[in-house]
Symmetry: C2
Subunit: 476 residues, 2 copies
């Protein structure tokens, strides 16, 4: 596949620029900069060209030219991905394709409860547009103010709403995709049931832009809940948290719309580093949960349901203390405590991160075993564990020991990963629950997945992108 | 791909038989017969060999030998498929691979709410095993007493439970698949979130046995509802039925677990032809609905929820009359009225069937336009419409005019299909909502889907099954 040109020549740049117009062919280094460095500074690349097409037709023309000239194309949304999937490599032979200008909500269909949106629509914009029509678009991510639907779908994003509403894949009914050749696959269906052949949609969703460019999608909307109650609770142990989750699930079923687990340490980091935050509870506790119930019936019903869950939890000593948000502003504050954990952790030096999932029931065992393993790899390293317990998905991050040298600490990245992933594997889990593979975990995918799985993935890649121009070097 | 042997030679049969043992290599015509004719007599084939392996390892050996000898293999579950996907062709060059003996429930994991089941487990057996542990396996089909999980997954079956719980695809977390080469792809995960590369599972699910043989799967179980209420109601029109669905959905949300729409005629056919059935309502009505709400909270809660839905529906004149099942036996009777509709229709002569879906909101328009189209194709033909309205999925069948000649009537099959599918297409619908493609709709798939879609499907088929031995002639 090494048939790309040696670099992006002025002639080639001019041909691409002619498709989108000079104004939207970004070549000035200062304008390119935000597209070639990922927000945390972990993944950077080099390119002389960022294309900002206006519509699907221009994307199609870009891909046609890319095929003709064997130019590698790297699709990019809000540049919030955490595994490098949206970054060009350092060769200056890859063109970044920004979908940001494909930002129209083409339709909100209230009768069908669907929205047809372009790839560049910012997640929060869609949430707000849906809310204005009395509908809920339940995908919710810390990055929702800047991440885009195309990226959400390409990475099959999860987030706090996945517990009740599913991941991005579950929320997507149909896609519009530009293939590497420039052909447009228009599959913008609003159908809940459609068994006309192989499930192509779900290859593009989660395909991280390696099989085609998602340019638009039909997503599900839901009725806006009539009541939502959010509680922050202190639990004595991970075992109690699991029992509380099972209890809440039993009592609330599909009305249990969030169940997050957080260690004491990330909360302390937030309280310490993020201005304006306060501890919602007075007592110290090793673990906390953030739990939401939603009711389609009434606000009163949601209140009663939460009250039942909490009172049964107290009775069985699963909860030590809890507080319920009494206003939208209190709600926002509780959510912010959880969402700010990644940000707060940055201030504590080097961090080795893991986005893992295990069967929900194995969460306590994972946390216990991983905690021991961490100390064996780097004594004094500080576990910073929080995540979507209801999905068995934890962000199991490990900060450097206090006062350690970050560079020295990060030399243990491989050994730490290895120790954690061995436990994950033993428990039947996944080393990439919701962030995807990108470049970060590509070698890991190949090294740890059954050979037959990666072989099938390679065959799919070759079948869809025989020239190897579609986000090369990512996933497989 | 025409490299298969001319026929199944005695030597080849002996080699296959050696894998499963003589007893499970079926060669007697009377024993083969049930495997080569589909239950309604619409699809028949010819083979000299039906293999009944005991386990995944034997399936693997069969596929390895099939690859070596370029022998086509047709996987078969309960032989209840409606599009011919499980039938060998008439060449006597294809071996039927019955999964019936892979019938172990390997595990029911109450903590994770999953079941790991082999392909040959009969759906109802799994339902009952789950119920014995206080769990619901919500896939529900008229054929559940004989259809098998492997077939359910391969065809991505839908049924009455799909409204709230999704199709077979949505209920499946992981699969074990034997590939055409005999390699075993063990992907029996219990994870809700796993973004490790392309979504391979969803190619096998819905792949109709053309990409590999599903030998086992991990499926989701749900808490058994504490209360379920089933109501049969008379609605004055399809527009009222749509409004009733929207109202019920608004009030009950995920607790609305069934919403079926039925024309008067299929009910009359049932009352006339199926012994022991009675009309649950006294008044005549052009349309009926069968509606269920389930509550995870209590039986009382389900009763109140159903009462609210019905009272609001009466108030807005969406319902003319309704009755609620007061016992398990009454419940079974109401369900039987719906499930017997296909069976009853057989007694009315030739039938031209359509398994279509449209956006839910377009159901009334579809029914109106299709009704007119039918009369233009065959004046006097009798529409027999029933189905899963909540999913926009209708079984839009058309019986011959009273007294017409069935053979003569069925000559209009193509013209009738064409007229109906044109309306479906115009409304953004699907000509195969839940039954799949098989052989019945293969040409239709190619003729009506975008060329790029069928091209991508062909590429996937070639990538997974380069020798073309895996259920050839089906889907694509």
């Amino acid at each position: 596949m090494n048939t790309q040109p040696d670099s992006l020549t002025p002639e080639l740049i001019a041909r691409f620029a002619a498709i989108v117009g000079e104004k939207h062919a970004v070549t000035a280094p200062e304008d390119i900069a935000p597209h070639v460095m990922e927000q945390r500074g972990l993944f950077g690349g080099t390119t002389s060209l960022v294309l900002r097409p206006a519509n699907t037709d221009e994307v199609s023309k870009i891909m046609r030219l890319a095929t003709e000239t064997k130019t590698a194309i790297v699709p990019q949304g809000g540049n919030t991905g955490l595994v490098g999937g949206q970054m060009p490599d350092k060769s200056d032979r890859q063109v970044v394709l920004s979908l940001s200008r494909l930002n129209r909500i083409r339709e909100i269909d209230l009768a069908s409860n669907t929205a047809t949106v372009e790839a560049g629509v910012v997640l929060q914009v869609l949430q707000e547009a849906a809310a204005a029509e009395g509908r809920l678009f339940p995908l919710a991510l810390a990055s929702q103010g800047s991440c885009q639907i195309g990226g959400n779908l390409s990475s099959n994003a999860g987030g706090v709403g996945a517990l009740a509403y599913g991941t991005a894949r579950d929320l997507c009914l149909g896609v519009e995709v530009v293939l590497p050749t420039g052909e447009i696959f228009d599959d913008l269906r609003k159908l809940k049931k459609d068994n006309t052949g192989y499930d192509l949609k779900d290859l593009f969703v989660g395909g991280e832009g390696t099989l085609g460019v998602i340019t638009a999608a039909v997503v599900k909307l839901l009725p806006m809940p009539k009541g939502r109650e959010l509680a922050w609770g202190a639990v004595p142990s991970t075992a109690a948290a699991l029992k509380l989750f099972q209890k809440a699930n039993e009592l609330a079923g599909p009305s249990l719309t969030m169940f997050e687990l957080m260690e004491r340490r990330p909360l302390d980091f937030v309280l310490q580093h993020i201005p304006g935050t306060t501890n919602p509870l007075t007592e110290e506790s090793p673990w906390h949960v953030l739990m939401e119930v939603s009711s389609g019936r009434s606000a009163q019903d949601a209140r009663e349901l939460m009250a039942t869950v909490l009172s049964e939890a107290y009775e069985e000593e699963l909860l030590a203390d809890a507080t319920i948000a009494q206003s939208e502003s209190q709600r926002a504050k509780l959510l912010h405590l959880r969402e700010a954990m990644s940000e707060a952790q940055k201030m504590e030096g080097g961090s080795i991160k893991h986005d893992i999932s295990v069967p929900v029931v194995a969460v306590p065992e994972f946390i216990e075993r991983a905690g021991e393993a961490v100390q064996q790899v780097v004594p004094g390293a500080r576990v910073v564990c929080f995540g979507h317990m209801g999905d068995g998905n934890l962000h199991y991050n490990v900060s450097q020991p206090v006062g350690a040298d970050a560079v020295e600490y990060l030399r243990h990245y491989g050994a730490m990963n290895e120790a954690i992933y061995a436990i994950v594997k033993d428990l039947g889990g996944s080393f990439s629950a919701e962030h995807g593979i990108g470049t970060l975990k590509r070698d890991l995918l190949v090294a740890t997945q059954p050979a037959i799985a990666t072989d099938l993935m390679r065959r799919i890649k070759a079948a869809f992108d025989p020239a190897g121009i579609m986000n090369p070097g990512k996933v497989i």
